[in-house]
């Protein structure tokens, strides 16, 4: 086990069947997240959270959006032109803010290069929650601890692929050594471009991005924010030295202010 493992989610072949969501819940014994009907789209889970570790986003592309090749749309008529679907998951960032800020060491980096919460250590401080630039991890209020995707750490230890990848009928979710996945993804983007789908792009695949590259990256057919993803996320701890410097300045000013207050009297 010397390689960093990852997910490549190719949304161009996602059919929105939610097999991944169900398989994840089944395998990881994740409780329900409330039966909410959102009345926005076929999406009834809404977003990633403590009890949703895979989330399939459904985006209605209305006819004012230019149609892709092979589709008939003149851009003038109303109605749904097509669907964008994408199975979202924890990005298992190279520079993971959640891991950086966790004060208990509950979040750790596994031998597969993934980021996992140890449920028996987490004290539910909730710091990882606003620290994640993707809004992935959350606290389960009934339980008090934080939860998120483990990339099926237990299955990986047993040499198996994660449950979601196993269940995905279209191979939209692919699991494997990260480097290999990146090469495969680039080839896939090229092919889509050749097929006349210039909007295909990779998201989270670059090791030089704001989180140092994601362990779970995506092939998207629209801007990331359309899928509810941040366009250019950055690990907040990048600015931590600057923050401490400003805090030190404020702390010194505080001491100075007190000293002045006493010197001036007496």
């Amino acid at each position: 086990m010397t390689e960093r493992m990852g997910f490549f989610t190719d949304t161009s072949v996602c059919i929105g069947c939610k097999a991944c969501e169900v398989a994840c819940k089944e395998w990881n014994d994740v409780p329900d997240d409330g039966f909410v009907f959102r009345a926005t789209s076929y999406d009834n889970t809404g977003s990633l959270g403590a009890s949703t570790w895979r989330h399939v986003a459904f985006i209605e592309e209305l006819s004012r959006v230019p149609a892709g090749p092979g589709q008939s749309g003149d851009g003038g008529s109303e109605g749904i032109e097509g669907w964008l679907m994408s199975s979202d998951v924890c990005k298992h960032c190279t520079h993971a803010a959640c891991l950086d800020v966790c004060p208990t060491g509950a979040l750790f980096r596994t031998e597969f290069g993934t980021v996992v919460v140890q449920a028996d250590v987490c004290n539910g401080c909730g710091y990882c929650v606003p620290a994640c630039p993707y809004g992935v991890i959350d606290r389960r209020e009934r339980d008090g601890r934080a939860f998120k995707c483990t990339m099926c750490y237990d299955r990986q230890l047993g040499g198996l692929e994660p449950a979601c990848a196993k269940a995905c009928p279209t191979d939209s979710i692919q699991f494997g050594p990260l480097e290999e996945l990146r090469t495969r993804a680039e080839e896939r983007v090229e092919r889509l471009h050749e097929e006349g789908r210039p909007q295909a792009r990779l998201y989270g695949a670059s090791p030089g991005d704001g989180v140092g590259g994601a362990g779970a990256f995506f092939l998207l057919l629209a801007d990331p924010e359309v899928y509810g993803l941040p366009p250019d996320p950055v690990v907040t701890t990048r600015d931590l030295p600057t923050m401490w410097r400003w805090a030190a300045g404020a702390a010194l000013s505080l001491v100075g202010a007190v000293a002045v207050s006493f010197l001036g009297r007496g």
Binding site: T2, R4, D43, G49, P66, A97, V101, P103, T104, G105, V121, C122, N123, G124, C125, G126, Y127, V129, A131, Y134, G135, V136, I137, R139, E141, G144, R145, A146, G208, D209, G210, G212, G213, E225, L229, P230, P231, D232, P233, V234, T236, T237, R238, D239, L240, T242, M243, W246, A247, G249, A250, A251, S253, L254, V255, A257, S261, F262, G264, G266
Partner: protein, 359 residues
């Protein structure tokens, strides 16, 4: 999205059904803002207590020392209550993690609570009826020059009489040292680290404010400590506390003004809706309380009014900041638009490639 569409300059931003991109902080009211207030109060009070000890303001030293210890203890209770699993609080002390302001903060709080407790214990044990407040200009010496009007013979306090003699002998020395360390090290950190705690998140209104928040919190901490000192110390010894309160109110107000001016879009949540109302009320209370403190010298009633206004302002600003953070996390605009602008300007966030590969 096609290329043509991307060329349209940020007329609209898209989001996934208006849903937030990041998760809002899960921290509750009143726990978190109250902890922020108490932490600041305790931190600044310990600085004030040390200064008062050094310069011979006995009554003020005692008030500030006790406030610092009570603030730290009560703050810790609020912090623990905020946890999803309070019984696991000590898990914070199983690691020492410089990348986590919460980890550093729990260590600071732990050490600070201990120091202020010892300092306060020595103050209380040494407590004796104050004959006359300090009037002579004090010298800055560690032993503390006692004003000449004080009786030279030191009456044994009632409390000290009950302590084992060894403790009673060591306590004044330990108390002095603890007070000094808390005053120059843990106190100033207590009052400011919470700003780093908030800023080191993906919450735009907090992260972008990482320069101003420490000053805002330091000012607010000073104002609250000064207010407590003013409220609980006889007027003749409360002068320095009043000055601390006035300076604190000024720093907090100035930092708030700079924040609102500099932040642009990310600063919007600080002046809109519920957060905006809280921030405005806090500013009125703090500035008003500060101004009042400068003229309240002769009047007990005005001093009390000023102290209460400063306390309320200091508390309210923490509630306002928490609410602004929530609002900025809830609206995807604050996450998406600045990042889009950064990309459009050709300045994507980038980090050096990972330093390590996985074993």
């Amino acid at each position: 999205m096609t290329r043509e569409r991307e060329m349209v300059p940020e007329a609209e931003f898209r989001s996934y059904y208006g849903q937030p991109v990041i998760k809002p902080p899960v921290w509750h009211e009143p726990h978190m803002p109250t902890y922020l207030y108490l932490g600041g109060l305790s931190g600044a009070s310990s600085v004030m207590g040390a200064a008062a000890r050094l310069s011979g303001y006995g009554r003020l030293a005692r008030t500030a020392g006790v406030t610092a210890a009570l603030g730290a203890t009560a703050g810790a209770v609020f912090l623990v209550a905020e946890l999803g699993r309070p019984e696991r609080f000590l898990n914070m002390l199983r690691v020492f993690k410089p990348t986590s302001p919460m980890s550093m903060g729990s260590w600071i709080l732990a050490v600070h609570s201990g120091l202020t407790a010892v300092a306060a214990a020595s103050e209380v044990a040494g407590a004796r009826p104050v004959s006359r407040p300090a009037v002579a200009r004090p010298a800055f010496r560690v032993t503390g020059a006692r004003p000449a009007s004080r009786p030279a013979a030191r009456p044994v306090s009632r409390v000290a009489g009950y302590l084992p003699s060894a403790v009673a002998a060591v306590l004044p020395l330990a108390g002095g040292a603890a007070s000094l360390i808390a005053g120059v090290a843990t106190g100033p950190l207590m009052a400011t680290y919470t700003a780093v705690l908030l800023a080191d998140t993906a919450v735009p209104a907090w992260h972008e404010a990482h320069r101003e928040l420490p000053f805002m919190f330091a000012g607010s901490a000073l104002a609250s400590a000064g207010a407590a000192g003013m409220l609980a110390t006889p007027r003749a010894e409360a002068g320095p506390a009043r000055a601390v309160a006035v300076l604190g109110a000024a720093v907090e107000t100035a930092a708030g003004a700079v924040l609102e001016r500099r932040l642009g879009l990310a600063g919007e949540p600080y002046h809109q809706g519920k957060a905006g109302r809280r921030m405005r009320a806090a500013r009125v209370l703090t500035a008003g309380g500060g101004l009042l403190a400068t003229v309240a010298g002769r009047s007990r009633a005005l001093t009390a009014l000023s102290g209460l206004a400063l306390t309320a302002g200091s508390l309210l600003v923490r509630f306002g900041v928490l609410e602004a953070g929530r609002a900025s996390a809830a609206d995807p605009k604050y996450t998406v638009v600045p990042q889009r602008r950064r990309l459009a300007a050709g300045e994507p966030a980038s980090l050096p490639p990972p330093a390590r590969t996985w074993p």
